[in-house]
């Protein structure tokens, strides 16, 4: 069990290493795929959702880094 946990953790660290980024990218491609495949949404909407969620993930993880720090 310990070995499996370690393997999962190593895989997670190798591919993502940041839960916010992982969730944001999964959401971006999941929602994008749903919009494009099942709902046949226009490409512009799919693009905005996809890129918006990717950028949103980056902004959120950076915001977490500065949370509680005073501004100079």
């Amino acid at each position: 069990m310990n070995r499996i946990t370690r393997a999962v953790k190593a895989t997670y660290n190798f591919f993502a290493g940041d839960m916010i980024l992982l969730v944001a990218v999964a959401l971006a491609f999941g929602l994008g795929g749903l919009l494009a495949g099942a709902l046949h949404a226009p490409a512009l909407l799919v693009g905005v959702v996809l890129i918006g969620l990717i950028v949103g993930g980056l902004v959120t993880t950076l915001a977490r880094e500065v949370r509680g720090r005073p501004r100079n």
Partner: protein, 276 residues
Amino acid sequence: MTGQLWAVIIASFLASTVEFVEAFTIVLVIGVTINWRSSLAGMGLAVVALAVIVGIFGTALVKFVPIETLRLVVGILLVLFGLKWLKKAILRYAGLKALHDEEAIYEEQVAELKARGEHHQARIDPFGVATSFKSVLLEGLEVAFIVITFGAQANVAGSTSASGRGILLATVGAAAALLLVVGAGALVRAPLQRVPENMLKFVVGIMLTSFGTFWGAEGIAGEDFWWHGDLALPLLVVFYLVVAGLLILWLRPYAPKKAASTAGQMTAQPHGEVAR
């Protein structure tokens, strides 16, 4: 040689150039930022995998390899890798994370090995190998698709001159594209080694995220998803550059004063081949 034969070679050359540039960009940046050993190992593995796939499937490749699924998987992984690098580079430029002097660590390690009479060999980095492998495999498959599609089309078109030789001619076009791209890459390699390390990592983060978004979107919505096809790629690069620049400006006021002053020293050390 007839006009149709030239058309097959030129079409294959141009389309393959775009794919080779995409793959080679990633091989180049991984080589410069991580090390050439990892980058070339990934590329070599991808070439072997490609040879096996093409050897097994031959021209039936286009029917059996789900290129859109492959684009989606590679796209997601590149976005994840790209965002990870971009986050670190943004934090460093904003002064929230110390600039990593890997050059100094590398020199120290080499000096230590030399003192012990051992030869230095850059360590194989799994991240570098995987990134290089994925990109070369995906783009290599796309080139194979281009060669087969253009070549088969020339054969089907029934021109007596092209008949049966379509795939060979398309291969000539693709091979010329490969030579051109590798030659251009060899020329830019040396100047790239002198670019500061964090700037390179920042650029790699932008490139991987842009390529990942581009391929991932094609994977979920089809090849004609992007406005003007491959021309959307540089626009994505510019977009992510602007976003990253704005994020650095937003984060700078949060940097501790001492770190903020070092963050401005972007032209610090030239970058060499380092083990991560």
